[in-house]
Amino acid sequence: MMFSRMLISVIVLGVAGGAAMTGAQEEDVVAALAPRAETLILARCSVCHTPDLVAQQRLPKDRWEATVQKMRHWGAEITEEEAGLLVRFLSARYHPGAPDQLPPLDSELRKAEPLTQEPAAEGPLVGVAVRGAGIFEHNCQACHGTGATGGFGPKLAKNPILKHEDLFWETVLHGRGPMPAWGAALSHQDIADIHAWLLTK
């Protein structure tokens, strides 16, 4: 249900093109895009800086576009499609006329239904270590270091948590303290692949 409303708003927005939005339309866009957009910001944009740097801006769409492209160029791990979604969300929420004070970045996210199912529902996944290496490099290495030997985040190679799969999944899916939640950014296969690769380290 919620999904179809989301889809409709996204399509409407696409058709409306560059035309200015009313306050109500903005709210719809924000609500529809928030779960994915906020997940991306917390997971992908927080690698280099906390999201407070994002939330304090009030920019028109073209400057959001330029900013998101600059971040991709510098190494933010987001696809073209995700970049488009982020620009729509950011320019609907953090536009020049938006109030100085807005609800915290992930308030919508916390309300939303999880976008992914629990791992158990998919049956046992078989991780592929060679794939995991690449996924780790793009998503985790900035904090956990090359070869998972540690950095801002703890060393993951030979970390006992790898043997406690439930705890590993819990931490990666939902985050913990400064560790971002990956549940909506990575597929379960991706996480299983990372896990398989970590076991080889």
Binding site: V47, H49, L53, L102
Partner: protein
């Protein structure tokens, strides 16, 4: 790729700063927490970005001539470097490029050069960015990304003299030990023209207000270019390269530039007509009373500071009628070339209710602080009149 072994030896501070970043995130998920995202108003500093740490000094601190180290604003591009890179035993300052004798100096070697102390304002080029209209991207600094401190160190020119600068030299490139978490992000590499580098007041500082330079302020060594904005004041300095050209890369060729002539707001980047942000502009601030304070009907001491890059402050004026008439404040305290000048004014409010105090300065070059600053795409060099709004008790 960065050396992963060294990564695990990150400083304790970084770890704490990082956890604080996480804590800020975590606190935001608590439903009861309705505070504005990211802005911590109490405490020694107003935090703009948790990681890398960017925080400004509450303006009330500017009632004192020197800004204390722990309150002094912090601007980091990537945060402090790994402890190992700046530990005194291993840290070296290298001087290379267009010179006769490459140098590699320990902190002890460096301290053999003549020791000098200069009091100077250090100000982020983006201080006041939040006041530009239309709004521009970047850390939304308000009034406190500035401070006045005593810097002790050695003259850059003394080092360059020892190294022997070759005739083709025109610029001096400065590089610190700080590194981005992802290597595809450009390094914070800057350069200053040779004339500024050999100016007798340009120093490499290892002390701040009589204490060893704190980690957040660039330990063990940072550049101080008195009269210039802080984009030249490289922290955690490790490499000085004398060269024919300006530094290459994003932070010198794209960032920290302003249009030479005024441009229409939002007219895009004019490209070739952009020049590096260098000298500070004339500016003044009201330190007390503070915004939103309640004041009595009796005389109220209004006080603050004023400074100008390379000129002296001649007058500071206040207006209580939105700039129609101005009254002159009294300049007080120390009068040193690159420091700020303190001023005071005894105000007798005429009526109860809300009142706005405006402040502007004039310098020895005859410049008057403008009401607002010319718009520029990155929001640098804001120096519009300062304003504080208070309530006068009945």
């Amino acid at each position: 790729m960065s050396d992963s072994g060294a990564l695990s030896r990150r400083t304790c501070f970084q770890r704490i700063a990082f956890l604080l970043g996480g804590l800020a995130l975590w606190r935001r998920v608590q439903p009861a927490q309705a505070e504005p995202a990211g802005v911590v108003e109490t405490g020694p500093q107003t935090v703009r970005v948790m990681r890398p740490y960017d925080a400004e000094t509450p303006v009330r601190e500017f009632a004192s001539y020197l800004t204390p180290n722990h309150r002094f604003f912090v601007r980091s591009h990537f945060g402090p470097p790994e402890a190992a890179l700046i530990a005194e035993a291993d840290w070296r300052l290298r001087v290379g490029g267009l010179i006769e004798h490459p140098l590699e100096l320990t902190l002890k070697d460096l301290k053999q050069f003549e020791r000098i102390t200069i009091t100077a304002v250090v100000q982020c080029s983006g201080n006041g960015r939040a006041f530009h209209r239309p709004k521009v991207p970047g850390v939304q600094w308000e009034r406190g990304a500035v401070g006045n401190a005593q810097w002790t160190g050695v003259r850059l020119r003394d080092l360059l003299a020892k190294a022997g600068v070759r005739p083709a030299a025109k610029h001096v490139q400065l590089q610190g030990a700080d590194r981005p978490v992802v290597t595809s992000v450009p390094l914070f590499t800057r350069s200053i023209p040779l004339e500024k580098a050999v100016h007798p007041d340009t120093i490499l500082a290892y002390e701040m207000n009589g204490r060893p330079l704190p980690l957040l302020h660039g330990a063990p060594l940072r550049v101080i270019t008195p009269g210039w904005m802080a984009d030249s004041c490289i922290k955690w300095l490790t490499d000085i390269t004398v060269q024919a050209d300006e530094a290459k890369g994003y932070y010198m060729q794209t960032a920290y530039r302003v249009p030479v002539t005024a441009i229409q707001p939002n007219s895009g980047l004019p490209g070739t007509s952009m020049v590096p942000v260098e000298a500070m502009v004339l500016k003044s601030l009201i330190a007390s009373p503070g915004n939103g304070d309640e004041v009595g009907r009796g005389p109220v001491t209004v006080q603050g500071v004023a400074w100008s890059g390379e000129s002296a402050i001649t007058t500071v004026e206040l207006s209580f009628d939105e700039g129609r008439t101005w009254e002159q404040a009294r300049l007080v305290g120390e009068d040193e070339p690159y420091a700020w000048r303190q001023w005071q004014f005894l105000w007798k409010p005429k009526a109860a209710g809300s009142a706005s105090i405006l402040c502007r300065a004039t310098d020895s070059a005859g410049q008057v602080q403008p009401q607002t600053t010319a718009w520029n795409p990155s929001g640098f060099l804001w120096n519009g009149w300062d304003r504080v709004t208070v309530t006068v008790q009945a």
